[in-house]
Symmetry: C2
Subunit: 399 residues, 2 copies
């Protein structure tokens, strides 16, 4: 443990209020050691922070670049307490953690951003929708459903989208039910129904809000999803929409983050309907897959912005310098095994391609292994070039 | 040690020739664990490499982000051999290493880029000048000097610049002798004399050359030096010079790197004289302080480009997206001690400012502790903003 960690918290706060920081600037903990935490860690260190991550996998992507890793489960209060005790502030790679444990640790005096109560709220997508409604933020019509009966679905009216209140992501926990004949698809457990919206585009805005309430948004982006896997297929930044939509979406995203009182970076997902309406879909209070392009394309990236926000430093400029397109690199179908990257040479030959490999030694089908951002003078060109990368670059699980 | 390190070298090479890479893409060693190695390590990992660094300081900046650090001296052949044996290729944070040891290890089959023979050559600035001359590359008139006698200096003619053949950097090992009355300043040991050139601007170009000979240059930049410390004061990118000079300087830099047969990234420093001539000053076969701005400002940064070059991957686009100005953050004069950063909040409030802290726990006068790059729509604006950062941001050695 580096020596300055000994400096007591009170003295650090006092110094900070005078714009003086003993190195390290702050001791930051990250709950979860995946790729988001890996990219977060690099930027936290750039700003002069010391970083510890908690993850059950001893070779977690973020553990490879952090000062240390606490190897342990997110459900283990002792592991969480160990991390929190070693850090000035703890933040998150994932929002799928037991918020009750965090609330307990918060009560013991440990600091978390975003707050455990916000995490608890957003973990329940139905509650998210209720907050949207309470603040007059536009979102599709929805209703809670009594568990395991078709009555509520019928009452809501077909066609509809049924969603699990908790735990769904990348298309899991979501079904479309177009009529009586599809009721067999219905999800079990705690769910809710949403109107099936006629979607023109799926959009996202990354917004940062600092401890003292400064708010900045990144450009509006378009997310194109793979219809089969429901994972992000291609991200286009900025979104090709009329400027009124662009501005309205950014304003809506900022208003949303302020409504939730979030601290840190928040991914705000929304739909643009065929009729030109913007409707909030959901929010994720952490750096977001739709913001990876900011690493290459923007003056400040989402990962650095997150730490500026939670450490209450001035937020950075978010101007985008060139159009960008991004794809995720997921493990190909086939066996699980040691990762093998095929076509890296060909991919790097595509002008403006920036390849990120996450340091995961094993690949399995659909596992997020890396991503590629391509910058180009026009969005069409960026999109064409990232498609060229997709054609040649593959990650397999080998022997 | 991660499991894939077991994969034997022959199999890795065979796979690579088919554009297939087992993770990690390559096991890279870096000799020296300072800030250059730290920024190199982050980018090597982004490309999917595993990184080990050798440095005598157990808390070296690069060791904090690498997979492992070999703690040892650059002069210790056993430490060097340990590093080399664990890696597919070894590269450098510094060129001040005993090349004879590297030549011995190269003969044992270990791989180094740049090559030990190139390092040996550039360590002797007189030999560098002789290579410039042999290849018809423009440089100021110079002559070797017999050690410790004023006769050679007189014969060369005043005014002149006397330089140590080895070990000089940041202004050390350089004196200007304007006439007989300044002979007492003369350096001892192996030195040479150079014509005192009437300098309009000091310029630099970062050039990358890959194993298979692909060459790309970054934009021409201007280096403004502190007249007292002789360290880089402000870097301006791109250099504000007529386009003919811009193009000629890039062509000269490429020709120079090809003349030396360097592999990797090379910093090529040159003078623009008052009469409009470009004269080579010296080269450094590694990522260079004058290329830090590429992290924020260019499509590919010098650190990633270095690994693309030494791993024989296609080089990246080097286009600059926005004008940039950069300053180094060096320890203030005063006591040596635990680093304290003053004015970080104020610095981050400057639009477009990106602050890099190198993770050095101790500060002392003139120690390189970090750097700041500012992007702005115009070079004048970038320059004004970086000057605003300099006014507020300081690093002291405290208790």
């Amino acid at each position: 443990m580096p020596k300055p960690l000994g400096t007591d918290a009170r003295k650090r706060e006092q110094l900070s209020s005078q714009d003086r920081f003993a190195w390290p600037l702050a001791r930051v903990g990250i709950l979860g050691g995946g790729q988001l935490a890996r990219m977060m860690t690099k930027k936290a260190k750039k700003l002069g922070c010391w970083v510890s991550v908690l993850d059950p996998d001893a070779s977690a992507p973020a553990g490879q670049v952090a000062a240390e890793q606490v190897v342990g489960s997110f459900d283990d209060i002792e592991a969480l307490r160990t991390l929190a005790a070693r850090c000035d502030v703890v933040t998150f790679d994932t929002e799928h953690v037991d918020a009750s444990l965090l609330l307990k640790l918060e009560a013991e005096g440990h600091r978390f951003f975003p707050s455990p109560s916000l995490l608890a709220l957003v973990q329940d997508k139905l509650e998210q929708k209720q907050v949207f409604l309470a603040h007059g933020l536009p979102t599709s019509r929805f209703a809670a459903l009594p568990a395991d009966t078709p009555a509520g679905l019928r009452a809501f009216g077909f066609p509809l989208v049924q969603k699990a209140r908790r735990g769904g992501y990348d298309g899991r926990g979501v079904v479309v039910i177009r009529g009586e004949e599809q009721l067999s698809r219905a999800l079990k457990g705690a769910t809710y129904a949403e109107e099936l919206v006629d979607i023109e585009k799926e959009l996202a805005v990354i917004v940062a809000r600092s401890v003292s309430g400064e708010v900045r948004s990144f450009p509006l982006v378009e997310m194109v999803f793979d219809p089969r896997s429901h994972q992000l297929d291609t991200l286009l930044a900025p979104a090709a929409v009329p400027y009124e939509v662009f501005d309205a979406a950014q304003a809506l995203a900022k208003k949303t983050v302020e409504a939730f009182g979030a601290v840190g970076v928040v991914g705000v997902e929304m739909f643009l309907t065929k009729t030109g309406q913007l409707l909030l879909n959901e929010i994720a209070p952490r750096p977001h897959n739709s913001g990876h392009y900011t690493l290459e394309a923007c003056v400040t990236c989402q990962f650095e912005q997150h730490f500026r926000a939670i450490l209450d430093l001035p937020l950075g400029r978010t101007d985008q310098l060139q159009p960008a397109a991004m794809i995720n690199l997921v493990g190909e179908s086939g066996p699980r095994g040691s990762a093998e990257v095929v076509g890296l040479r060909a991919a790097l030959a595509v002008p403006g391609a920036s390849v990120h490999i996450y340091g995961k030694s094993e690949s399995w089908p659909m596992r997020k292994m890396g991503h590629v951002t391509v910058l180009a003078p026009t969005l069409d060109e960026a999109s064409a070039r990232v498609a060229a990368v997709r054609k040649v670059l593959r990650i397999y699980g080998g022997d």
